[in-house]
Homo-oligomer: 200 residues x 2
């Protein structure tokens, strides 16, 4: 398994955005779309052992969308198709329980605190430029319980960092250069594929 | 410098495709858009030391678009913005000489043979799943003259492989799992950033 959490601080929780201008009308949901495709798509298929939580904080009440590789359908590599799938999920009446939208995509009310509560058995790794280099870190493999947490273009807030710290998250960096979340996910997937991490 | 060549075997050479359905109307120009953004975008900026050649073979006469990081303007991380820039370049009357479209983007007639002729001083590395692992290869660095060549979703043809072989290209692989061209570029950029290759 490989699990990724991406927090979209301005990402809309409403389906009323335009597929003709995703960056301009959705609170940069395009960032989360690219993160999702980075997590799943490989040539001629998708990664069944991947899961992605998209935490959307740009509405009145936060929502979280879960994409689950094992049952995920209709995900193509292009941004617009992914945005259309998220639009469908956001059109569902959300409650505090996961509700299924299309195959492999569920949605509920709740933000980062609720998600961290759910993930309390996981080994949380928060990706941040100034953390220690992930290449020296132990215990990360696709066989493990690692959950990678990434911010959007605004990074993470101090409150969120405190929350993750209390949840036991380790901080890790992919290097000094600040990369987009989707690119970080591509690199993490490749490192997991290559067993590039230190044994735990 | 870091230079990437991506060959789009069905990619349109005409501007008459729809930004509302890029994968369906452009011969999968979306693949080349994502490859271009993968090469250039980093958080809050673009890589000035990157160049990308997009070889478009899906028209009557092949065209090549060159994106040059040093002078590139208006490139955003989203797919549609990149497609709109390529559309503008394809609307120019192309000849065998490079003509400027927008800042940092030029276009001309010609396909892979013409491009390889231009790149004959370069150290060509052709990315292919069954090649030797790139992590053991020497002489690759952003200080060098390496040009990475990648195929689209259809791979490269036998004729193209022969052509590259005659041009002295080395074959290299990022691992057994077959990845999309844009994801390969993300990983190569990161390896170059990290000086992860063997010294030459």
């Amino acid at each position: 398994m490989r699990t990724f959490v991406i927090v979209g601080h301005k990402a809309t929780t409403s389906p009323n955005f335009s597929l003709e201008d995703i960056p301009g009308t959705s609170g940069r949901l395009d960032i989360l779309c690219r993160a999702a495709t980075a997590a799943f798509v490989i040539s001629h298929g998708i990664r069944k052992d991947a899961s992605v939580y998209l935490v959307l904080l740009g509405g009145e009440a936060p929502k979280t969308i879960l994409l689950h590789g094992e049952s995920l359908r209709h995900l193509n590599p292009d941004e617009r198709t992914t945005a259309a799938l998220l639009k469908k999920a956001l059109a569902l009446p959300a409650t505090e329980r996961w509700a299924m939208s299309t195959s492999g995509i569920t949605v509920r009310l709740g933000g980062l605190p609720e998600l961290l509560e759910d993930l309390k058995e996981a080994d949380l790794v928060y990706l941040k430029e100034d953390g220690p280099d992930i290449r020296g870190m132990e215990g990360i493999s696709s066989a493990g319980k690692t959950v990678f947490i990434l911010g959007d273009h605004t990074g993470m807030t101090e409150e969120e960092e405190e929350l993750m710290g209390r949840a036991g998250a380790r901080t890790a960096s992919l290097g000094e250069r600040s990369l987009h979340a989707d690119h970080c996910i591509v690199i993490l997937n490749w490192m997991l594929d290559s067993n590039a991490f230190m044994p735990g």
